[in-house]
């Protein structure tokens, strides 16, 4: 009975990351999306006769940063290869890429799904160049009869890093988490715009299924054209189901490339590029080997920013729970700076984090300003936290204090003064108020003395707060009441 067999997905992801260098990989043309078609082109990126490539040093530094962030080995000696296939958007009809000696090999990326962390192996990361863009258009509406392809080579030669995972991903959800983690990583490194909708990050998935527990690999199917995390997850879910249904019925899967159809929510077989299966790789004779010494690697390593995983760990070390550590870690850089400054001058981490991810983030959303435009700095946040801790301002009033600070009315202390939000905590002053409240509620006092009912105390505290318009320090009021009630 087939339904007793458990099938397990085996998923590998290939990511193409478009680097955000100023100029292209092998020529000085600007990397500038949205420029008019064929305006950022030269003999090199147009594949004109006689043109020669010269690699962009910055792009190499970027792939090193990515490789180090992914815990990869850097190949001490690495070369470019020509990958030969004919395609209209590939000007030379070969792509300068890497074959057997990529810049980076063997690393890993930790991902978390439903609180469980898994380590996904990285096969390799290599340097290559992007193709031009094809647009398929109809003429006079007769789409099929008279359609044509328009070619724009502005994107041709833009530096790409291809990151290939090991087939260690076991679910669509993990695939999505992997993609998202990778995205925040390259964004953090500042090596790419990391915008999916603009194609600066492109995902292909290799999906197969096998009987759970075995390690025989099933027929691999490559899925393309997923341009959001959600469609990546949906496409894989769909493909896994499709394959399980087929193999469960004992059908043969064909090794092929399938195209994800976002609207219909299905994958369908793509006609494979004729004769493209044999790429005839050979060493690119127009380029010389890259010999990446330890000093270069060390320099790149030293320049690496704090990466999300490490940062989350640091926050948890400060006492935040996993969830708020993750939320804070994804907050805008400036907000994280404010948090770090505040903690550095003594603010409690938990309180500071709550302000940053709560009220302050809310303020940014409401006003639509950029975190950098905030008038609040870390010292002020620490001061605000301090006011509450010392009981000088009630938690409720503190929100109003923050408003004032964000409105540029001055430091929290000044705002608390000018807006008269400080708590009444002078014992003499409060004692008087308490006395008058007791005087005006003799029956309440009576019922407490006889029954000792706690709710009566609560009622009296409420009365005092009312008289003082909420400025009285509730703890002190409580103490004074009990003293005078002799309870």
């Amino acid at each position: 009975m087939t339904n007793t067999i458990a099938w397990e997905p085996v998923i590998g992801i290939e990511v193409h990351v478009e680097l955000s260098t100023r100029s292209k990989m092998f020529c000085g043309c600007a990397v500038d999306f949205g420029a008019p078609p064929n305006t950022n082109v030269c003999p090199v990126c147009l594949g004109l006769p006689g043109a020669l490539p010269v690699p962009n040093r910055k792009a190499i530094e970027h792939i090193l940063a990515i490789g180090l962030a992914l815990n990869c080995e850097v190949s001490p000696r690495s070369v470019f290869h020509r990958k030969n296939y004919f395609y209209a958007d590939l000007p030379k009809n070969y792509q300068i890429s890497q074959f057997d000696v990529p810049v980076c090999t063997g690393g890993f990326l930790d991902i978390t799904v439903d609180g469980e962390t898994r380590r996904i192996g990285i096969e390799r990361a290599h340097m290559e160049e992007d193709t031009g863009k094809s647009t398929h258009v109809g003429q006079g509406g007769r789409i099929h009869a008279a359609s044509a392809t328009l070619l724009d080579f502005n994107r041709s030669g833009v530096p790409l890093v291809e990151i290939v995972s090991k087939p260690e991903i076991r679910s669509a959800a993990e695939a999505r988490a992997y993609a998202q983690e990778l995205r925040s990583l390259v964004a953090e490194l500042g090596v790419s715009d990391a915008r999916l909708e603009e194609g600066s990050l492109r995902f292909d998935a290799n999906v197969s299924v096998r009987m759970a527990g075995t390690d025989v690999l099933g027929t691999k199917v490559e899925i393309k054209n997923m341009n959001s995390f959600r469609s990546l997850e949906r496409a894989i879910e769909h493909e896994v189901e499709r394959q399980i249904t087929l193999v469960a019925e004992g059908e043969e899967l064909t090794q092929e490339t399938r195209h994800w159809d976002e609207e219909k929510g299905v994958t369908h077989s793509m006609r494979t590029k004729e004769g493209s299966s044999d790429y005839r790789y050979f060493t690119e004779p127009d380029l010389v080997p890259m010999v990446i010494g330890d000093s270069w690697v060390a320099a790149v390593r030293d320049a690496l920013p704090e990466l999300p995983a490490r940062r989350r760990a640091r926050y948890q070390g400060l006492g935040l729970d996993g969830r708020s550590a993750a939320v804070l870690s994804d907050a805008p850089t400036r907000l994280r700076e404010i948090f770090d400054e505040a903690v550095a001058v003594g603010a409690g981490a938990v309180a500071a984090a709550n302000w940053v991810t709560g009220e302050i983030t809310g303020h940014i959303r409401r006003t639509g300003i950029d975190a950098h435009e905030l008038t609040l700095d870390g010292a002020q946040l620490a001061e605000l936290v301090g006011l509450v801790d010392e009981g000088l301002v009630s938690p409720t009033a503190a929100k109003e204090v923050l408003e004032g600070v964000l409105a540029g009315e001055g430091s929290p202390r000044q705002v608390a003064m000018t807006r008269d939000l400080a708590q009444m905590s002078d014992p003499g002053e409060l004692a008087a108020v308490v006395a008058s409240v007791l005087a005006s509620h003799p029956d309440a006092v009576e019922s407490f003395r006889s029954s000792g009912e706690e709710k009566v105390v609560g009622f009296l505290v409420g009365q005092v707060m009312r008289v003082t318009q909420g400025k009285a320090d509730p703890r002190m009021v409580n103490r004074l009441l009990r003293e005078s009630l002799g309870g």
Binding site: P43, L46, G47, L48, P49, G50, A51, L52, P53, V54, P55, R82, N84, F86, A88, P91, K92, N93, Y94, T149, L151, E274, D278, R280, F282, P285, D286, L287, V288
Partner: protein, 489 residues
């Protein structure tokens, strides 16, 4: 009536003494072209307008005392596989018919900066694939010494132009002998410099790891002057040598006394014409007579160099020529899909020899054959380097014939590719090694056809190479000129 075309050195003196002007030098070579092109077809394009402009500018500058150096005002012939902005560049292929490059090759830029006058673009075997300049979509070039014979190739157009005097000096490209072999067959000097010393930017690639631009000139002196104008580091070519360059002139009058000269035993015997071997042997004798220590050396890997070359060069070419697809420039043969458009354009646009080599290279790289062919050829290339490194411990230079034969008859080898390939047997090793080599004319055979003498040196050994070449030239005293009766075309 036309004054016999001077050398760069002679012309330079006449220009600076005011006896001639750049314009009159240009008129001189154009007159020769006018009277010889109908027979030789050395040029595909003569840029009269651009040349006159450059010559006028040269005269103005020289008159004003702004001297750009030895090539200032000198008429130069350019092989048509070097891109010239706005001037048709075809590599002798139908697929580039009418192509106007939007940029100048680095060598062209340097020639312009040196004040040279570019006369036009010369004929070649399509994409420099050939040894006779017969594989041209625009018709063959013929040898000024015997118009029934080939000038050699692939730089046969530049060779014929310089030999005939329709240019004072010229540039060619050498992938397996394409400068040296036509120089030998046309009775002039031809040099392939060390790989990486002359920028390939703007040279339409045949085999990127082998291609090198170099001079075709009447004398060793002229070759040195031409090379000095074009070589040097170019940031646009990642394989361009950034270090220090040899001083070509330092030893040109030193003589060969005390030098060790190796005679390559593998480059002799079967297939070598007796007159060629005799002339080469005689020159070796004379070098010994001048105090050179002559030793016979053996480089076994040379025996399979040709085989390696005909796997490596076509493999690289199969990728280099993939860009000619009918989309962005050049010929387009329509098709209802991009695939068919590309395939028909390429079948139509490439000639038989180019098609043959693309197929050969594609095969050698394809799955299942790579290791046995391309991969193994690369090992042979490494072996050749090891062999050369070994012999250069003991000798300063190697010598051999430049070509096993003198100029052969037009059409003789067209039907037999392998026979044609064998014309490069002596020149190919230097390309595989990346070393410099020069061909110097040393005499005529029984039929009055020029014989070339090849000198090879280790990488960046140009100083010694020119030291020996200058002495060979002096000893040969070769002054013969082709006697084409000049008919008006």
């Amino acid at each position: 009536m036309t004054p016999s075309t001077p050398t760069i050195v002679e012309a330079g003196a006449l220009l600076r003494s005011g006896e001639v002007t750049a314009i009159s030098l240009l008129e001189g070579v154009l007159e020769v072209a006018h009277r010889t092109e109908a027979m030789l077809h050395a040029y595909l394009t003569i840029d009269r307008e651009g040349a006159v402009e450059a010559a006028v500018a040269a005269d103005t500058e020289l008159a004003a005392g702004h001297d750009r150096g030895p090539l200032h005002g000198i008429p130069v012939a350019l092989k048509d596989n070097m891109c010239t902005r706005g001037l048709e560049t075809t590599a002798s292929s139908q697929i580039l018919s009418g192509y106007l490059p939007p940029y100048d090759a680095t060598v062209v830029r340097r020639l312009r900066e040196a004040g040279a006058v570019i006369v036009g673009k010369t004929n070649l075997d399509e994409f420099a694939m050939g040894s006779s300049t017969e594989n041209s979509a625009y018709g063959a070039t013929y040898n000024p010494w015997d118009i029934g014979r080939v000038p050699g190739g692939s730089s046969g157009g530049s060779a014929a132009a310089v030999a005939a005097g329709s240019a004072i000096t010229g540039l060619g490209s050498d992938t397996g002998g394409s400068i040296r072999q036509p120089a030998a067959l046309s009775g002039i000097v031809g040099l392939k410099p060390t790989y990486g010393t002359v920028s390939r930017y703007g040279l339409i690639a045949f085999a990127s790891s082998l291609d090198q631009i170099g001079p075709l000139s009447r004398t060793v002196d002229d070759a040195a002057l031409t090379l000095e104008a074009i070589w040097g580091h170019d940031p646009l070519d990642a394989t361009s040598y950034p270090g220090e360059y040899p001083d070509l002139r330092a030893d040109m009058t030193t003589g060969v006394s005390g030098l060790k000269v190796g005679v390559v035993s593998e480059l002799a015997g079967e297939g070598y014409e007796p007159d060629v071997e005799a002339a080469v042997a005689a020159m070796v004798e004379r070098l010994a007579g001048e105090g050179a220590a002559v030793v016979e050396v053996s480089l076994p890997s040379f025996e399979i160099a040709l085989s390696a070359y005909y796997l490596i060069a076509p493999a690289e070419a199969s990728a280099n020529l993939a860009r000619f697809d009918g989309i962005r420039y050049g010929l387009r043969v329509p098709g209802d899909t991009t695939e068919s458009l590309m395939a028909r354009t390429r079948a139509e646009g490439f000639g038989p020899e180019v098609t043959r080599r693309i197929l050969l290279g594609t095969y050698g790289l394809s799955a299942g054959y790579y290791e046995a062919f391309y991969g193994q050829a690369q090992r042979v290339r490494a072996a050749i380097r090891q062999d050369l490194a070994r012999v250069y411990h003991d000798v300063d230079v190697l010598v051999s014939p430049t070509s096993p034969t003198v100029a052969f008859e037009a059409g003789a080898r067209v039907a037999d590719p392998l026979a044609m390939y064998l014309s490069d047997i002596c020149t190919i090793p230097s390309n595989l090694a990346g070393d410099p080599a020069i061909s110097v004319p040393i005499g005529l055979d029984g039929r009055g056809l020029p014989i070339g003498f090849q000198v090879m040196a280790p990488a960046l050994g140009e100083r010694t190479l020119f030291r020996v070449a200058a002495e060979v030239e002096r000893l040969a005293g070769f002054t013969a000129r082709p006697e084409i009766e000049l008919v008006a075309s």
